[in-house]
């Protein structure tokens, strides 16, 4: 067990402290509330707990049991065995935030490498050590923009094709500020393009947020758009899927000021929604305004290269109520997973995975488009996710698919009333041609029944 004292050790310790019993260490706790009886299940041995959890886990149907076409912000990818081998190193996962750099160079250098990989992938000048997830990273982008303009610009223009959960989190975060306006994400007009937002962008606009690939999987060149946003003096945040950036132009190249997004596709298991990884990178003008931890390179007295947490005076423990964010930690271990994953796959592997996703998704889309009653927009470029217009409610179709061992796509009517009968399907390198054919067969059968 994890509380190791023997009876005699405990007695010796109490003697040194100078109290008669363990209970007497709690004399300052109000007597009427002291030592409540907790109604919890009897303690189990490790063996019994393992059996109990195995039992619970086995109730679930997983993306291994089912053929998965579900995405919408979390994606079913292959994670090479070497990633978890590193994550299981106690030296990494049982360490804390590297406050003492002399004994934390492993964590610090890994974060520095993570920052480098993310900066390179997004085409930005610098990345922080990560945020909690894609949603909170997006909210932090808005907070950065608010402080960048010292609260003088109060409008935030958000595309309706930004992940609905990210937009929800953004609103929660901005609720702490007075008189800010979040507009643009009219869910009745889900397929508006970035350009459709421009009339809303004015001299009072702090930030424009678009997603790339967007929530519906679509990609478009944002270079001209970025320029037009900048003409009004506002900043531009592009919410990305980092995997798509192995194949398509980076937000940095297109002129974004901030790139953020969900890092889960980079070697992090689905794990029912978390823990994931919030990516956050900026152009150099905004580096000092980034919330969250940052690792910088330096040297020791003997000139040896080393890494430290830097710009810490921005953070909550020094700035106190003047800090712009209360974030203390990053997603350290998840950032490590992404670092190992990107190092393993490298330039070639990452591109290869992105291409596999692209080709398989396009093949699936073409096949589905040929099934009577189902329709896919094949003209607008997309990455590995696309919208299917269905002959019936997505709920009904998904039930049918599930009976056939398929985890169907996301029901877009959950967030967009205008998208009744619209399903968002994701295809990754994990889906074989056979999987795709099984899906298409099932959809055909459904439309015949």
């Amino acid at each position: 067990m994890y509380t190791p004292h023997t009876d005699s050790e405990r007695e010796e310790m109490l003697k040194v402290i100078g109290v008669p019993s363990i209970e007497s260490l709690f004399a300052d706790v109000p007597a009427e509330y002291r030592f409540p009886r907790l109604n919890l299940p009897e303690p189990l041995s490790e063996m019994e707990v393992a059996a109990q959890l195995q039992e619970l886990a086995s109730i679930n149907e997983t993306t291994r049991d089912l053929i998965c076409f579900l995405g919408a912000g979390a994606y079913n990818h292959y994670v090479p065995a070497a990633v978890d081998a590193i994550l299981r190193r106690g030296e990494f996962y049982t360490a804390y935030t590297p406050y003492q750099p002399e004994v934390s160079q492993g964590t610090l250098q890994a974060i520095f490498e993570y920052q480098s990989l993310i900066a390179n992938l997004t085409g930005m000048d610098a990345s922080n050590a990560s945020h909690y997830d894609g949603a909170t990273a997006t909210a932090e982008a808005a907070v950065l923009a608010y402080h960048h303009f010292r609260g003088k610009r109060t409008r935030f223009v958000v595309s309706p094709s930004v992940n609905p959960q990210y937009r929800a989190v953004l609103r929660t975060y901005l609720n702490g500020y007075e008189n800010l306006e979040v507009i643009g994400d009219d869910v009745e007009k889900p397929f508006e393009t970035a350009e459709d937002l421009l009339p809303l962008v004015d001299a009072n606009t702090a930030l424009v947020i678009v997603q790339y690939p967007d929530f519906f999987g679509r990609i478009q060149d944002l270079t001209d758009f970025a320029q037009k946003v900048h003409e009004s003096g506002a900043l531009l945040t592009v919410v990305v899927n980092p995997l798509a950036l192995a194949l398509f132009k980076s937000p940095g190249e297109m002129g974004a000021d901030i790139a953020c997004g969900e890092g889960q596709p980079l070697g992090i298991p689905l794990s029912y929604g978390g823990p994931y990884l919030g990516i956050f990178a900026t152009k150099k003008d905004y580096v000092r305004k980034m919330a969250g931890r940052l690792v910088g390179e330096t040297t020791d007295k003997e000139g040896r290269r080393g890494y430290v947490l830097t710009l810490t005076a921005r953070e909550q423990h020094i700035r106190r109520e003047k800090a712009t964010s209360n974030i203390c930690t990053n997603q350290g271990l998840m950032a490590l997973a992404a670092t190992v994953y990107m190092s393993l796959l490298g330039k070639t592997g990452l591109r290869q995975v992105a291409e596999l996703c692209y080709h398989k998704a396009h093949y699936t889309a073409q096949q589905i488009n040929q099934i009577p009653g189902f329709e896919v927009d094949l003209k607008t470029p997309f990455f590995h996710e696309f919208v299917v217009k269905c002959p019936d409610s997505v709920e009904e179709i998904n039930e049918y698919l599930l009976d056939n061992g398929i985890l169907g796509g996301y029901d877009l009517s959950n967030d967009y009333p205008a998208l009744k009968n619209h399903m968002l399907l994701a295809v990754t390198e994990m889906n074989t041609r056979e999987d795709i054919e099984i899906l298409c067969e099932a959809l055909k059968e459904y439309s015949h029944d």
Binding site: R150, R288, L311, T312, A313, R314, I318, R319, K322
Partner: protein, 130 residues
């Protein structure tokens, strides 16, 4: 510790040089030495902004601490020393010269009366320095 006699000082360690109706402000030698190496400087106001006495108008950071620069007088910001944003080292090396921070056109010059002269400020610093 350098405390020029031609300046006035605030309790929060800003200095003021009066030129007609304009107050030029910066932070004192004592303040920079307490913070040690400055690694970041940022304005919190723009030219044209109206500021009130004691309002935070800029931020200084060293490795271990952050400090606000407060307006010692009220008025309109007429000029910022923009070069400080990149060359914040001068705050350590030349606090009363190259490290002037901004010019404020005073709306109430009588506020100057509440500031300390060099002798009073020096005593005030020694008292805190124990």
């Amino acid at each position: 510790m350098n405390v020029p006699t031609n300046l006035k000082y605030a309790k929060t360690d800003e200095w003021v040089k009066v030129e007609g109706n304009v107050a030029i402000i910066g932070v004192s030698d004592y303040a920079q030495s307490q913070l040690s190496d400055i690694v970041y400087f940022e304005f919190k106001v723009d030219p044209g902004d109206t500021v009130s006495k004691d309002q935070s108008v800029a931020t200084l950071e060293s490795v271990k601490a952050a400090a606000d620069v407060n307006a010692p007088v009220s008025g309109k910001v007429v000029e910022l020393n923009q070069s400080l944003t990149d060359q914040f080292e001068v705050i350590n090396s030349d606090p009363y010269g190259a490290a002037w921070m901004m010019k404020i056109e005073m709306s109430d010059p009588s506020e100057l009366d509440a500031l300390m002269d060099a002798a009073a400020y020096e005593a005030y610093c020694q008292e805190r320095g124990h």
